[in-house]
Every structure is written in C-alpha cells, then in structure tokens.
Amino acid sequence: MADAGGWRPPRPCEAYRAEWTLCRSARHLLHHYYVHGERPACEQWRRDLASCREWEERRSAEAQRSLCESERARVQATRKHALVWTLRQSPPADWHLPLPQEEKDQ
C-alpha cells in the first residue's frame, strides 16, 4: 500500500457505485444464480463505496484501511487456486515472426 502522502482509493468512487448498482440489479441476480446457484453478495461494494466517499470528504484513515483490506481480500480470492501451467517470463519468441509461407516468398 502506498504511504498516506500519495495514496488514493484503488478505484474512483464512481466505479464502486457502478459495481454496487450492477450487483443489485435483477439481471445480475439471474446471471449469478445461473453460474453459482445462489444470490450474489453486494454488501461489500456498498461498504467500499461509503469508505471511498468518506475518504474523499474527510481523508479518513479508517476508510483507507477498510478499502485496502477489502481490495486485498478480492485479490487474494482470485489467487486461491494453483495454476495448471507455469507463467511465462517473456512472450513466445515466434509470435511476431512471419508465417513460414511468407518467409519462403521473401
């Protein structure tokens, strides 16, 4: 986490509002049930929106802490499962090479 001098919320407050609105929509309820078989949990987006606004208005340290904790938990949730493959350090060497047919033509 960047120090207090340069810190700002990880997302603009408008993004938290948009996510909370989307989460509570009937369409999202249907999509979420179709994928997970249960209702979505939207409360955390509401809390994050409140924290973001509080930080914008009062530069609250508690709001900053709460937002960081929430977003770190989201990142952790995506890293829960070990990957099937090894990630590359650099892209495939032949990605940009001409096609073998083009090489023959040249």
Binding site: M1, A2, W7, R8, P9, P10, R11, P12, A15, A18, E19, L22, R27, H28, L30, H31, Y33, Y34, V35, H36, G37, C68, E71, R72, V75, T78, K80, H81, A82, L83, V84, W85, T86, L87, R88, S90, P91, P92, D94, W95, H96, L97, P98, L99, P100, Q101, E102, K104
Partner: protein, 248 residues
C-alpha cells in the same frame, strides 16, 4: 461448436509420436492448414469463398466488441500485440467447428463456412483470443498435456459467452441453477474431442482435474463477462490496474 485449439501440419523437426498423431486429427478439421503452415487460401479460391464476408465481420469485431478489445489490450500488455493480417486467417473447415487457435503459427483460424453472423463472429474471436492469451502468458503444452488444453478450453467456454443462458436455450439445453458450469464442462470436452484423438472419458477426466482452478482463473477479465456491460467494466478495471495495484 466454438473453436478449439487447433494443431498444425508443419513439421520443422523431429517431434514425439503422440504430438504428430494429435496434429493429424487437427488437420482433418482444418484442412487448409497445409504442410507449410499458415493460411491455405490461394488467389483463385479466395475469389469464390466467403473470405470477404469473414474479413468484414472480423474487422467489425476487432474494432467494436468490448470483450475483444480487452483481450487485445491484455495481449499487447503481455508482449503479443495482435496484427489482423498476421494472426487471423479465414478458411473453410470440416465439420461444424467455428474456429481454432494454431499454436505453432500463432494464428487464429476462423471457419468462414460456419460463422453465421456478427454475434457469432464476436463469440468465436473472443473464444480463440482466450487461447491466444493463454499461449502468450503461459507455457501451455497444447499437444503433450491434455490438462493444459482442457484448462484453456474451460476458460474459453467460461469467458467468451459460449455458455450464456440465451445461447444454451437456443441449443435447447434448459437449466438454470449452476447450469453455466455444466455447459462449460460439456463444451470444453466437445472442443477437446474435436482436435484430439482421445476418448471421451480421458477428456472428461482432464476437465474434471483442472476445472476448479481454470474456471476460477478469469484473466484478463477478472470476472465472468455475462454481457457487454460486464466486459466494459472489466476493460475499465484493466485500464485502471496501475492505480489499483499501487494503492492496495
């Protein structure tokens, strides 16, 4: 059927026997992938083919579809900038496969005789770009590890819209609660069987083994994009990632 990771006919060096067999199966689906690799279309055949229609649909997808724009951005960020002429090829394919990713030539094959309309093109390009993205960011053993192929097919079915409620209803597959996951499993198995000479049981076992990990790996979207709104939000988050990671 949406795309599967296709294999090449190109044989530049001695390769292990199982890999050659798998490549032969893929050749049968993508007959224009000739020995020298790349697009097989000659000048004469392109005059009479659906190539121009395919190119037109593809251009519109690349320019306007939010799923595809995010994938293109993510690939550029990973060092695999996509060039339409180099990395896409419109060809006629056997069966009812819609497309494939040829890892040996780094090309996405679009089956112009099977892609019906703009929405279908959007979905096929998204599906194949997921494979290309996986190829770009990870060491995927496409031909020697069926679990790697299974993982990419799970991700492609999950993230491309292949298994949307509407698409499943059109296929007369009716289900609601957790049906998306059933669809992803089933379509991943179908895609594997389209390009690999293995039994359904082996394909099923591979999908089962990798499902938990690969279903939950939703890069570069960070979520399952159920429609264009979700895809736009995902793209917004991707563009914001520097701010995001430097402030958590």
């Amino acid at each position: 059927m949406a795309g599967a990771a296709g294999g090449p006919q190109q044989q530049q060096q001695q390769q292990p026997q199982p890999q050659q067999q798998q490549q032969r199966v893929a050749c049968q689906v993508f007959p224009e992938r000739r020995a020298q690799g790349g697009s097989g279309q000659g000048l004469l055949s392109s005059v009479f083919s659906n190539d121009q229609g395919c190119q037109r649909l593809l251009l519109k997808t690349l320019q306007t579809n939010p799923y595809v724009k995010l994938l293109l951005d993510a690939m550029k960020h990973s060092g695999c900038a996509v060039n339409k002429e180099r990395h896409f090829s419109c060809e006629d394919c056997n069966g009812n496969v819609s497309g494939g990713f040829d890892a040996s030539t780094s090309q996405i094959v679009l089956c112009q005789n099977n892609i019906r309309n703009q929405a279908h093109m959007n979905r096929v390009v998204t599906h194949e770009l997921v494979h290309a993205f996986d190829h770009c960011r990870a060491h995927v053993n496409w031909f020697t590890d069926v679990r790697h192929l299974a993982c990419s097919e799970v991700r492609a079915a999950n993230l491309s819209g292949d298994c949307s409620l509407v698409n499943e209803i059109f296929r007369l597959h009716f289900g609601l609660k957790r049906h998306h996951q059933t669809c992803v499993r089933d379509r991943a198995i179908l895609s594997i069987l389209a390009v690999r000479n293995i039994s359904k049981e082996v394909a099923q076992k591979a999908v089962d083994e990798v499902f938990e990990s690969c279903f939950n790996d939703q890069e570069p979207f960070g979520r399952i994009p159920h429609n264009k709104t979700y895809a736009r939000y995902a793209h917004r988050d991707f563009q914001n990632r520097d701010r995001y990671y430097s402030n958590i």
